[in-house]
Symmetry: C2
């Protein structure tokens, strides 16, 4: 499904360069469930953004379903992203003066699914425990509630791939467990799942862990049977 | 130093009310080191914002050094905030097209301290491990780096009270431990510290834990000697 070969990402900062990714290669099958771990600044969000078609590598290849995504135009990249990928951003990226329900409806505007948009959004918010927060605007929600709106928005159009960047960083253990159960249900239904996390407890819910260090992969192993 | 008596916070949402705080009372001595825990939406950020003079209670009293802060004007409240409180926001609140160093210098513009502003900002960024990221703008930093800039900004003018709302939510365990060591040094020097966290490991570094549930305090106990 996903294949990265020798992917690098370099930022030019005037006098010096930042090598966010220094040659990353791995492949992911449909239906896989991965955790991505590593220190702050090691390149996790960068590799997630490339996989989610939000960014392009500086060098290397990204094959999605065998298609070289690096060769596509911005418009084609955006179309793939809207139709196939659900992204939970590390900093949520909700529309500010917009309600929880409107934020979650947004992906359905770009990539419609059968059924009523408002009802789909409501169900996604109920699934993350926010059934009583539908009409709150983004700035009228707690940090963990905003994080859960971002999760609901990523799942509402039933994408085939979900990329979740630190989805439980602002959640207490009980709410975090609820999200893990939700992710397990989605994976059981065939959705491919990548979760960036710094918490080993969260990573242990996945079936495979990729660990980054200074822009390189230093570990890539299957989690013991559970 | 800090005394809250029967503090409530209610949001009017048209047809219904949200009771974010339902009568919270506790007191804190100078030099104390507290963790504040509780489920998502239980009122932690709300009570922190009131203590940091960023918000006012709907009812009840907030005494800071014996002075009833609820009676002050917005201008007086802002002055106390700038001079006495360092706040690490749950969503960082960095200025977007501004470098790490400029963001950290900002509190020193409003409440100058002796010495060179740029040098103080640089030292605070080195203390959180970002000595090589001074010139990166906020959007050129990883999530955990942004979080650490927010921490550096909160400590740079050596406030007497630091309120940190989920300061390690985006940090790997190693970076999180570094921040806990920094907080311990600050507390050793006499600074009063309140840390909101959902991670027990982080809470165990404090000397007292206050647990919120549905806008009320349900636990308030000293951590066993360590
Ligand atoms: N401006 C607002 N208008 C209406 N409701 C609000 C507003 N701000 C916060 N709330 C509600 O008040 C409750 C408490 O919010 P608060 O931010 O204090 O929670 P919290 O304990 O910090 O949660 P988290 O762990 O998710 O950050 C939440 O349920 C939230 O929806
Ligand atoms: N636009 C940019 N310009 C320059 N450097 C950048 C830019 N974006 C990211 N970086 C740098 O690239 C490195 C990797 O960033 P990335 O966001 O992938 O890290 P991360 O592993 O997600 O970290 P965290 O756990 O803190 O979120 C960081 O050191 C960061 O400073
Ligand atoms: Mg990141
Ligand atoms: Mg909060």
């Amino acid at each position: 499904l996903i294949e990265l070969r020798d992917v690098t990402k370099t930022y030019e900062m005037g006098k010096h360069e930042v090598h966010a990714l220094r040659g990353v290669s791995f492949s992911i099958e449909q239906g896989d469930y991965l955790a991505v771990m590593g220190p702050s600044g090691s390149g996790k969000s960068t590799v997630m953004n490339i996989m989610g078609c939000l960014d392009r590598p500086s060098e290397g290849t990204y094959l999605l379903d065998g298609q070289d995504v690096t060769k596509l135009s911005d418009v084609e990249l955006a179309r793939i992203r809207n139709q196939r990928v659900g992204f939970v951003f590390q900093t949520f990226n909700l529309l500010p003066r917009t309600t929880a329900q409107e934020n979650v409806e947004l992906p359905l505007v770009y990539s419609p699914r059968p059924g009523n948009r408002r009802e789909r959004a409501r169900k996604a918010l109920v699934a993350v425990g926010l059934g009583d927060r539908l009409t709150h605007k983004s700035n009228e929600l707690s940090g963990g509630e905003q994080q859960r709106v971002a999760i609901a928005r990523a799942i509402v159009n039933e994408p085939s791939i979900i990329l979740a960047d630190e989805p439980t960083g602002n959640l207490d253990s009980k709410a975090g467990i609820e999200i893990m159960k939700l992710f397990q249900r989605l994976n059981d239904s065939g959705i491919t799942l990548l979760v960036v996390t710094h918490e080993q407890f969260i990573a242990n819910h996945s079936r495979r862990i990729i660990r980054l260090y200074d822009g390189k992969i230093v570990e890539d192993f299957r989690v013991a049977d559970r």
